[in-house]
């Protein structure tokens, strides 16, 4: 059993692509993922699971059809299952998000922003 902690900034330093989640840890059947995000993501929904966003550095918003949530570093938000949402960051933002293993980043929407799943750092 490794006794090495998972250092978030160290992990962020190992990739630069936007909207390209990297798995850094698993807890039971849930995964902790890091992403660097900038500009608009796509509207999508996860029908079977909630999704947690935690901002590590920078600011982002999560747009909903009935309003937005603004998140800064040290803030988190739970997107309930079945609720359509669109992440957005004006400037580069570093986030951690948590969801069950196997969840695709674009949910039901597909498209060019769909990332390869289960890519570990």
């Amino acid at each position: 059993m490794s006794k090495t902690p998972i250092n978030l900034q160290n992990k962020f330093s190992q990739f630069s692509e936007y909207w390209s989640p990297r798995v850094i840890a698993e807890m039971n059947d849930y995964q902790f993922k890091l992403a660097k995000i900038k500009n608009e993501f796509t509207w999508h929904v996860h029908h079977k699971t909630d999704e947690v966003f935690l901002v590590i550095e920078g600011t982002m918003s999560i747009e909903f059809r009935d309003g937005d949530v603004e998140l800064s570093a040290g803030e988190m938000y739970v997107v309930p299952k079945g609720v359509e949402h669109k992440p957005y960051a004006k400037e580069e933002c570093k986030i951690m998000f948590i969801e069950p293993r196997g969840v695709v980043n674009t949910g039901d929407a597909g498209g060019d922003l769909t990332a390869k799943n289960d890519v570990w750092l």
Copy 2:
């Protein structure tokens, strides 16, 4: 649906007791909990679930029977299910930890440090 982000430092400002977890969010059947910790916790084990620790401010260690893990702010660690461990912090440390709803902080060990479960902030 609330559009208010969960601000970790704001939540930490609302309690002062050590080893007294506060639930700040739920994702499916998992809970996100905050705790302020200082000094020794008790040796214990969670037989049915992994447990994730993320240090928000300060430093802590997680002692295992075969060695320790040292964690600073911005670092996390997954304690695998079934592995006996003892959290420790020389000075006050603010942590977030994530585990399924219903997990008792002292696991199988019981004792004076067993906290009331499911206390929300």
